[in-house]
Subunit: 318 residues, 2 copies
């Protein structure tokens, strides 16, 4: 067993932090660690927070954190910003939160940015969540900044997805992408002390009437005022009710199977691509390319030949 794995499983916070850094750097040891911790995962409740900027997601996550700590639950937060190259707690919001919760060993907060590689962000986030799960967090919160495709993809790592709305932000529900309505398990109207709440509530209900969703779960709308710590009890109860629904209805198992299929497909794709990259270095390939440029052969034939050779050579070497 890798020494870092052992330390993560014994609840060493610095080991968890290091493992996440290795994940972001695609450091070779990460593969071993991820395999070793895997049997120890699946215990945490994974909650996703998304919504348009300015809706108060960060304050809401902070308020829920405070509530959950009062309930003696340990919480991990992975804050993902696909537009930011900064990682490791460098976001402003996190610094504020860090100051707030820093002395508390039951809280683990981590920011993740792109480091210029958007493709890896979604995978890295899922891997970081797994580390926090194995490390022993009772709840792991995944928070994203925007509502784009990457964010939707990241949200698929959560068991329960919350969409945070802002009555004062001119947040028309119609303005949301269709994808957002489909992934929402709960809606939160934050800043529910400012005008526009009732209008927004009616809009959400109307959208829910239109959008197809699970027959046995209609996403509830919870009103909160994060800055005053209001609505947290109800929010947590609704999250737990959804957790129970996932278990009882079989929907949770279905989602897990779907996500596992996705994950394995991506891993296989990655491995095949790595095999391909090796072949691309070979002499024979370079001369095929020259011939294709000179139109003695077509690129489709070169590709077919390459797939055949790749399969032949790999089968002989194994």
């Amino acid at each position: 067993m890798h020494p870092i794995t052992k330390r993560i499983l014994s609840g060493d916070v610095r080991a968890a932090a290091r493992a996440i850094t290795w994940i972001e750097d695609d450091f070779p040891d990460k593969a071993q660690i991820l395999r070793e911790i895997y049997p120890h995962t699946g215990k945490a409740i994974l909650i996703g927070f998304t919504g348009s900027p300015g809706a108060g997601k960060s304050s809401l996550v902070d308020a829920l954190l405070t509530f959950l700590r009062a309930e003696s639950l340990t919480v991990g937060v992975v804050a993902v910003d696909p537009t930011s190259p900064f990682t490791g707690g460098a976001l402003l919001g996190d610094r504020v939160r860090m100051q707030h919760h820093a002395p508390d060993p039951g809280v683990f907060i981590r920011s993740m940015g792109t480091r210029g590689n958007l493709g890896g962000l979604s995978r890295h986030t899922k891997e970081a969540v797994r580390i926090l799960d194995a490390y022993g967090c009772d709840v792991v919160i995944i928070e994203t900044v925007g509502v784009g495709q990457t964010e939707l993809d990241i949200m698929k790592a959560a068991d329960t997805t919350l969409v945070v709305l802002n009555p004062g932000g001119g947040d028309s529900v119609q303005a949301f992408k269709a994808g957002i309505m489909e992934i929402a398990d709960l809606f939160v109207i934050n800043k529910s002390d400012i005008p526009g709440v009732q209008k927004l509530e009616i809009e959400v209900e109307q959208m829910l009437d239109l959008v197809k969703h699970d027959a046995t779960w209609r996403p509830p709308i919870i009103k909160t005022i994060a800055t005053e710590q209001k609505g947290m009890q109800e929010l947590w109860q609704e999250i737990k009710r959804h957790t129970n629904h996932l278990r009882a209805s079989g929907e949770g198992e279905e989602r897990k199977v779907y996500r596992m299929r996705q994950e394995v497909t991506e891993l296989v794709n990655q491995q095949l691509y790595n095999l391909l990259l090796q072949r691309l270095q070979e002499e024979a390939f370079a001369s095929d390319i020259e011939e294709a440029v000179d139109r003695q052969i077509d690129p489709y034939a070169v590709a077919e030949r390459m797939v055949r050779q790749l399969i032949k050579q790999e089968s002989e070497s194994s």
Copy 2:
């Protein structure tokens, strides 16, 4: 030989149009047609037009079209809008141009949009260009609307890339992504009769001093007024000078090899992914996934097993 291939090679415009529709629809026959036309491609000059919206790209393309037709050259235009789901000449600008050039059999204009699938757009564009090349266009113009990643990728299909700037649009060259500077072979300041031309020209020259480019080719700046058909002679001369530079310096060959490597890699990836999709349907995979969800095995082990099986089964069946 596919009947459509035969018709394209004999210069049948409706066959070319149908082939492009089949390309967009990923209709099975397209593979055979693309293979069959490939030896007949490589004759057309491929020109890319990009630049920020409002710079007058469409007017410029239209003016160049008129100029080239007066020179008795046949021209194909592929207008690509990654933000539009519309295809087949449905864009407003194209309708106008269509009316202008419609009775002229030496002009072929085609719009391409996403049809909701951004990933395929770049490939489809390159395939459409190949059809127009085989069909017999002397010049093929690839026009994109924006300056995002997809547009940059599409521009890689061109031999000569023009970046169109607008002195009145507050177009600060600094505002452009770095990628734009690197792909530009020629700059065009269109609407060069309005104020701001000299300032913009100086800015471009300063950027060119900073950005690394081919030692033997410094991108020239050409001033045009597309709506008055001004500057077209000089523009065309600079394009031809660049074509000669590509040939003489070996840069053209290098670019072709680079593009071919990219194309073949994408084709191989696609083929491997198709093999993978077949395996995903199998019983054995479903039970592996169940085991992984139950944490009896980890997803990394499932992926490895799958790669091994895929290679084994493919090598036995071939």
